[in-house]
């Protein structure tokens, strides 16, 4: 792409009807102040309720950023989906499946429940399953494993990521329930005996600092078959993309996953930091950030944005009806004709 073409393409993104659509959504839901900021550790309670960013990255690499898309926050549970992908690359489907099931639990994310016959945690999206998944990340020691994990995120987002140390230390200091689950799984032989190192890794992966744009890059990379659509770097082995997307669809939105699949139908993962990443396979990735959460721990504004995007553009996985708006027309058109 020549410099003139690339500048032209960035201006075309600014003037496209799709950006105006997102801008209107942002204005509409900015006014919505339902929900509460997570406060189980003091660092999360510092988030401002008005923070709100919407980012969409298309398979062609067009980037749309509305609102607070550069504001950093901790990735929290969203990390679970991507660490699961790395575990699959490290060990293959069969072995990973022998340690973590893929059944939606219907329980809250922090439930201390294992499958009674196999002793496996229900799925990689509940805390127990995520800890078992982190245990599978290869590396000689904690530092090496963390570096592999951060390098993995960098392949998805196209930029270097770091962890928020105070959040990590707070999570570590107060994570008794997670610690209990890890030792319960050790008791059943579901995790290796480097429990403390794995718990550190788990708390660190939850403390990775991201932006709404990073979240859109994560899901756009999945939507694009595991290759970042902007940098063209491969982040996840093609074979495992569908595994990650599947568990996001069935278990990604905590115990709200059933209703999410019904209403939105975009595989997604949320985090208590206020982020949601949602995939429209073959089309685009959505990243939203707003720290006001509903009772299930999902971002209230983020849910609404995903609901509207899914309905208006027919992004539900099982949609067969003609959508209200045509995505391609909205991406390539000129909004001045709708003024």
């Amino acid at each position: 792409m020549s410099d003139l073409q690339s500048l032209t393409s960035s201006i075309t993104a600014v003037t496209s009807p799709f950006r105006s659509y997102l801008t209107d959504l942002h204005i509409q839901y900015q006014a919505d102040n339902d929900g509460a900021v997570a406060d189980y550790i003091p660092e999360l309670a510092l988030a401002k309720p008005e923070w709100f960013g919407i980012c969409v990255v298309t398979q062609a690499g067009q980037v749309f950023e509305i609102g607070d898309c550069d504001q950093m926050f901790t990735i929290q549970s969203i990390s679970k989906a991507f660490v699961y992908g790395l575990a699959l690359e490290d060990h293959g489907r069969e072995y990973v499946n022998s340690k973590v099931s893929v059944e939606p639990s219907g329980e809250a994310f922090n439930a201390i429940v294992l499958d009674e016959t196999t002793n496996r945690p229900y799925n990689p999206m509940v805390n127990a399953g995520a800890i078992a998944t982190s245990d599978l990340i290869k590396g000689a020691n904690g530092t090496e494993r963390l570096k592999r994990l951060l390098a993995m995120f960098q392949r998805y987002t196209g930029r270097e990521l770091d962890i928020n140390v105070p959040v990590f230390l707070s999570e570590k200091a107060t994570g008794f329930r997670n610690r209990a689950m890890a030792y319960l799984m050790l008791n059943f032989g579901m995790v290796s005996d480097r429990v403390d190192e794995t718990l550190d890794l788990y708390f660190q992966q939850c403390s990775v600092m991201v932006t709404a744009k990073d979240l859109a890059m994560l899901s756009a990379t999945l939507a694009n078959g595991g290759v970042n659509p902007v940098t063209q770097e491969r982040a996840l082995d093609e074979r495992y993309v569908q595994d990650v997307i599947s568990v996001m669809l069935t278990c990604g939105m905590y115990d709200g996953s059933g209703e999410w699949t019904y209403r939105v139908g975009m595989p997604a993962k949320s985090g208590v930091g206020g982020g949601i990443t949602a995939v429209a396979p073959g089309k685009l990735g959505v990243g939203t950030f707003s720290p006001l959460l509903d009772a299930k721990g999902n971002s209230v504004r983020g849910i609404k944005v995903c609901e509207d995007l899914s309905q208006d553009f027919g992004l539900h996985l099982f949609n067969v009806a003609k959508p209200k708006l045509n995505l391609d027309d909205c991406l390539t058109g000129n909004d001045v004709d709708n003024w």
């Binding site: 073409q5 500048l7 032209t8 201006i11 003037t15 950006r19 000129n334 909004d335 001045v336």
Partner: protein, 252 residues
């Protein structure tokens, strides 16, 4: 549907602000609701033509771009200053304070904000036409105003530098799929044959020439203290502006 008209030239001093003010006034006098944006933030000036004094201006385009004020608060009804009914002609001026200009040059601004500002003002004031006065040369905001224009009016003088620069701008306009490009030749001298000049320019750029304006002492004498066609409606220059305005209204 509202129409966007950008007035641009590759080089400075061609008469962009003068054309913008006269064309916007002519279209507003024809009964349309018109907004004018001064996007020439490094060297704003069109407020002088509309007789908007700096002390009357509290909020400018700069304040909007800094996120300090909604765009509507930076729009001033200037109709009365050019003999037009109230609520017909609005100007969004850029700040003439050296500090404000320095700040916007130093920090830049988000070109998306500019686009949202255009869109928002068109909607809230229910404008029929939006005229954009631009900074000379090519920049992100020039690209934006070209991209959203229904009509791009390029002004050039009979001068080699202007000819070359106009060719560059035409390349960019084509890349941005601009709908209509009109050319206006300004400051021609009496020795040039207008018909031959028009034909040569139209052949070179493959776009219609909407008007030819001779170097006019009458225009110079007004010295930016008013809109020429409002003061001298029967002057040949005002009639040429009317011709260009009609061309714009047909093309848009």
């Amino acid at each position: 549907m509202p129409k966007v008209v950008s007035i641009h030239s590759y080089r400075g001093g061609t008469g962009k602000s003068n054309f913008t003010a006269n064309l916007a006034t002519t279209v507003a006098a024809d009964g349309y609701r018109v907004g004018v944006f001064d996007t020439d933030v490094p060297s704003p000036g069109i407020h002088n033509l509309f007789c908007l004094e700096p002390e009357q201006v509290t909020t400018t385009l700069n304040h909007y771009l800094w996120g300090e004020a909604p765009i509507e608060t930076a729009a001033y009804d200037v109709g009365a200053n050019v003999g037009i009914d109230a609520d017909k002609l609005y100007l969004v001026p850029a700040s003439v304070k050296a500090d404000d200009i320095a700040r916007i040059l130093k920090d830049g601004y988000d070109v998306k904000m500019m686009n949202d500002g255009f869109r928002s003002l068109v909607k809230s004031l229910k404008l029929d036409y939006l005229f954009i006065d631009t900074h000379p040369g090519l920049s992100k905001e020039t690209f934006l105003s070209i991209a959203i224009s229904h009509v791009l009016l390029l002004i050039l003088r009979p001068d080699k530098q202007d000819y070359q620069g106009t060719a560059v701008t035409m390349d960019v306009a084509r890349q941005l799929n601009v709908r209509n490009v009109l050319l206006a030749i300004n400051k021609t001298y009496s020795t040039l044959n207008p018909e031959a000049l028009k034909q040569k320019v139209e052949e070179t750029y493959q776009s219609p020439v909407a008007g030819i304006f001779p170097l006019s002492e009458d225009v110079v004498q007004l010295a930016s203290e008013g809109v020429f066609c409002a003061k001298y409606p029967d002057h040949p220059v005002s009639q040429e502006f009317w011709k260009v305005a009609q061309h714009i209204m047909v093309e848009a």
